[in-house]
Symmetry: C2
Subunit: 161 residues, 2 copies
């Protein structure tokens, strides 16, 4: 089971896929368990991936870069054919969608930056007055670890400390 001499060029075993895709074999098995990629097995139960899985893994990485969770990526990938490389049209749809998400995220960060800008001179940090603490851009809480600001319902009261 070492070098893939007997495999058609269009197929690849997990170790080679991992090396070429730049992830670990464990990650690939994990992706497979999450149904992001698919394999067949040899008689000896060894995973065999179609070569274009390489592309799928690349798309997964791209999706993560965009800020999507694996679940969201899985949904996107579900629209792609499992048995061959995605067509140009497939990819165009996906990448335009993702581009829009990046654009949105950029816009959010711009408004966050503006808030910080405003705050620098201000320093009030008032939950009622300060734009930093009153974002109008309802945000997609992104990943674990980064909750978006929540609504501060009250101000600091009549007697600011």
């Amino acid at each position: 089971m070492s070098s893939a001499q007997h495999l058609p060029r269009s197929q690849i075993r997990i170790g080679d896929l991992a090396r070429r895709a730049g992830v670990t074999v464990a990650t690939l098995r994990f992706y497979e368990s999450r149904e992001l990629i698919f394999s067949t097995r040899t008689s000896g139960n060894v995973r065999i991936y179609p070569l274009h899985t390489l592309r799928r893994v690349a798309i997964i990485a791209a999706g993560q870069r965009v800020g999507l969770t694996l679940t969201q990526i899985a949904e996107a990938l579900a629209d792609l054919p499992k048995d061959r490389a995605p067509s140009q049209q497939h990819w165009e749809e996906l990448s335009s969608k993702w581009k829009m998400l990046v654009d949105q995220r950029i816009a959010q960060l711009h408004s966050l930056r503006d808030s910080l800008d405003g705050c620098i001179g201000c320093g009030c940090l008032s939950t009622t007055k300060c734009s930093l603490f009153n974002p109008q851009d309802e945000a997609a809480a992104e990943g674990p670890g980064s909750r978006w600001i929540r609504n501060f319902d009250a101000d600091f009261g009549p007697h600011e400390s």
Copy 2:
């Protein structure tokens, strides 16, 4: 231990703090365990926070919005006085630093978007030519290949701030 009649206005119990800050009491206790906020105790072991803790919590939320981890936020907060509200200068320093981080992040997203832009018209999905997919694939030849995606976010960290 119900309504805070007997507390000075400058102090606040955890329940009220939670309500006014828009987080749960559990979260506040968690923040305290992480040394992001501090309390004294009554004879009955009840936490008493200085009122300006409200501001500290607001700053924590702002830091999260910027994309910092609680550890990074704790470092930033360590420069603020524990016993009173931060001065305007404190806040100016903090918010300018954070603004720079947001700017960096925006720049990163811009380059990501440019990659996607390039990819949309291209559709090649070529692992050799496409700037978005450019792992060390295909030219699988070892050697200093393209650094890619996965290290993209790596330098948004606390390293020296």
